[in-house]
């Protein structure tokens, strides 16, 4: 009940006209930068920090929160329309979303992503309001062994992105794991697979790999096949909006995506990528239309998008309750707090209730604003696909390289982008799935370092993985998820025999 009163107080802060204006500026800016690959909400907040120095703390922090949520919306737009995920969290969205866009269903894809983001954002913000104090205790009790077990669950579900050949899927995954080795090993300080090139010491940037494989690789592939296979894009086929069927197929993935995104986002080392991929593979398993996956299944957009946004709200749990920044944007929000001499942490709720609850309330408002802003834009966005093909792909390449240059104006980064583009082309040509490479790059280093941390703490005793109840449970889930398909197959055969 206390939370209700505080939230009402917060709402009275957030609906002050000036703060509403700040929220609006925030979501507009956030959407704009989320659309640009390579430039995300973290950068935007950082850009604005010095500008907002003289502003009222509540107003500017509300604006930052708007940017955060707005960036999440905008990031999915490029992923769906031009297969260029602006951030690693919108990668899973690109898998089915871009296929939908190419089939003339870009409208429904964008709509389900916007509405799903709204639903997930709202539920997750409610979770932040009422569950934060409890959730944070669980989040902090997550030890390295538990993270390792979580990674095991994630690895098992990667197979959903494998396509039809396990050997080729695993090959892709191991290429990703290889790329994950590049750079300085955080636990020993030694560099691996860097060959003395200092630019490689800092590990491979996930967005560089994703944009290279997805956008550049695709451009090369389509160009190389133009003489045999003219690609025809139809901006709109059928309804621009979600049909009744689309709604029916979307609402459950939204809720399941939220259930993945919010708690994992709240974990100090959880992140947004893992819940999006977990959501993707869950939807692929549960769908009634498995044949559509890989060709543009709406569940594959609805789930990951919801997970993506829910994890953004989850990130605010450790930030506000403990002062733990667990994402780049959260780190910049923390810097924003500190600029005003505010220290997020256990005392923030007590010392600055108006600010904290005003922020939480403005998250609800930002979410509503985003939905209202984004839905009318869907029609406009899909028109982008009507641009003549030479210009569309030329524009995508310019987009991809600009994002990379803005991120790091070093030729080495662009060379990597090009090499990953060629890799993406070759993998498409020889029918290797692309997504497992990125998944390997993300999961490999986390799984390795968390396992090594767990074993260092336990002095090499592997039983630590089973002694922690969280870890034991997660490992059991991973095992079941690994074995279940085979068992079901066996049962199916058994049944078939009986019939």
């Amino acid at each position: 009940m206390e939370a209700f009163v505080s939230l009402a107080n917060g709402l009275s802060v957030a609906i002050q006209p000036m703060n509403l204006l700040f929220a609006l500026i925030g979501v507009l800016l956030g959407t704009a930068v989320g659309v640009l690959p390579g430039i995300g909400p973290a950068l935007t907040v950082a850009l604005l920090l010095p500008v907002t120095f003289k502003l009222d703390p509540a107003g500017s922090i509300i604006m930052f929160a708007g940017i955060y949520y707005g960036g999440m919306y905008g990031g999915s737009t490029t992923a769906i329309l031009i297969n260029t995920p602006g951030e690693s969290a919108s990668m899973a969205t690109a898998l089915e979303g871009n296929k939908m866009a190419k089939a003339g269903r870009g409208g429904p894809a964008l709509a389900t992503s916007a509405i799903g983001s709204f639903v997930a954002g709202t539920i997750a913000t409610l979770g932040l309001t009422f569950l934060a104090p409890y959730l944070v205790d669980i989040a902090v009790s997550f030890g390295p062994e538990d993270y390792f077990a979580l990674m095991c669950v994630a690895f098992v579900t990667v197979s959903a992105t494998f396509g039809d050949s396990p050997v080729r899927g695993l090959t892709s995954l191991f290429i990703g794991l290889t790329l994950g080795l590049v750079g300085i090993d955080i636990l020993s300080g030694q560099s691996r697979l860097s060959f003395g090139i200092p630019e490689l010491y800092d590990n491979i940037e996930v967005t560089t790999l994703a944009v290279g494989l997805f956008a550049v690789g695709e451009a090369l592939y389509v160009a190389s096949r133009r003489h045999v296979h003219e690609e025809r894009l139809e901006a709109v086929r059928g309804s621009l909006w979600m049909t009744k069927e689309d709604w029916k197929r979307s609402w459950k993935p939204w809720l399941r995506g939220t259930a993945f995104g919010f708690p994992i986002g709240a974990l100090p080392a959880g992140g947004a990528e893992i819940p999006t991929f977990l959501s993707y593979s869950t939807e692929k398993r549960l769908t009634k239309y498995p044949e559509e996956f890989g060709k543009g299944a709406i569940e594959g957009v609805a789930g990951p998008e919801a997970a993506n946004n829910a994890s953004a709200a989850g990130t605010l749990v450790p930030l506000l309750t403990l002062g733990l920044p667990t994402s780049a944007t959260a780190a910049m929000l923390l810097a924003g707090f500190q600029q005003y001499g505010l220290n997020p942490g256990p005392l923030l709720f007590a010392e600055q209730p108006n600010l904290v609850w005003g922020l939480i309330a403005s998250l609800f408002i930002a979410n509503g604003m985003l939905l209202v802003l984004n839905l009318p834009l869907v029609g406009l966005w899909v028109r982008l696909l009507a641009i003549p093909q030479p210009w569309l792909y030329a524009g995508i390449l310019v987009f991809a390289t600009m994002g990379t240059i803005a991120a790091n104006p070093s030729p080495v980064e662009l060379i990597m982008l090009t090499v990953f583009g060629v890799l993406g082309f070759l993998m498409r040509r020889f029918d290797f799935p692309i997504a497992p490479v990125v998944v390997g790059l993300i999961l490999g280093p986390i799984a390795e370092s968390q396992l090594r941390r767990a074993l260092s703490i336990s002095l090499g005793d592997p039983m630590v993985l089973l002694q922690s109840p969280i870890s034991a449970t997660l490992l059991a889930i991973a095992l079941i998820a690994l074995i279940l398909p085979f068992v079901l197959k066996g049962l199916g055969r058994f049944k078939a025999v009986e019939d």
């Binding site: 430039i39 850009l47 039809d164 050949s165 695993l170 090959t171 191991f174 290429i175 794991l177 290889t178 080795l181 090993d185 636990l187 020993s188 300080g189 030694q190 691996r192 697979l193 550049v216 451009a219 090369l220 389509v222 160009a223 190389s224 096949r225 133009r226 003489h227 045999v228 003549p388 093909q389 030479p390 210009w391 792909y393 030329a394 524009g395 390449l397 310019v398 390289t401 600009m402 240059i405 803005a406 104006p409 030729p411 662009l414 060379i415 982008l417 090009t418 583009g421 060629v422 082309f425 040509r429 020889f430 029918d431 490999g444 390795e448 090594r452 074993l455 260092s456 002095l459 090499g460």
Partner: protein, 157 residues
């Protein structure tokens, strides 16, 4: 996955298997130069060993697939557009490396890609690319105050 009924050996598939094997060897060689520093840490070698062994197994798997001719059918390949696009990217990288700024490079990349996709108006596209580059420059540098690699053209703006 048995798209070629006559089951011919797929040479490209064998090359892929060889590349994977080479990659596994490279990781192994790199691993041997690492040291275990902390007495409690599993060490930086375990992961490379796993990845290297995994890649070796997958190389065998891919080789078997190629031997059976199990690879999906491939269309013939048109190299010209690939060379054009990669050439555009190379121009951009080279121009940034030598301090020529990103604008000229971006314009060339735009025109080269659009030519690769069949347009025959290189000069026109060069101008469009340049216009886009100017727009991006103004947006990034002036509005967002981000510094992009500058060359002679950028200094004029």
């Amino acid at each position: 996955m048995t798209s070629s009924p006559q089951r011919r050996i797929d040479v490209a598939g064998l090359v892929i298997a060889l590349i994977l094997l080479g990659l596994a060897g490279l990781i192994w060689w790199d691993m041997t130069k690492l040291q275990i520093l902390s007495p409690y840490d599993l060490g930086p070698k375990v992961m490379p060993i796993i990845v290297s062994l995994g890649l070796t197994l997958l190389a065998v798997g891919n080789a078997i697939g190629a031997w059976k001719g199990d690879l999906p059918a491939r269309d013939s390949l048109d190299w010209k557009p690939i060379v054009l696009i990669l050439g555009g990217l190379a121009c951009l990288i080279a121009l940034i490396a030598i301090g020529g700024g990103f604008m000229i490079g971006t314009a060339i990349l735009f025109a080269a890609t659009s030519t690769a996709f069949g347009r025959r108006a290189f000069l026109m596209d060069l101008l469009i690319g340049a216009a886009i580059a100017v727009l991006i420059y103004l947006l990034f540098a002036k509005l967002l105050t981000l510094s992009l690699p500058a060359g002679p053209l950028e200094h004029l703006l």
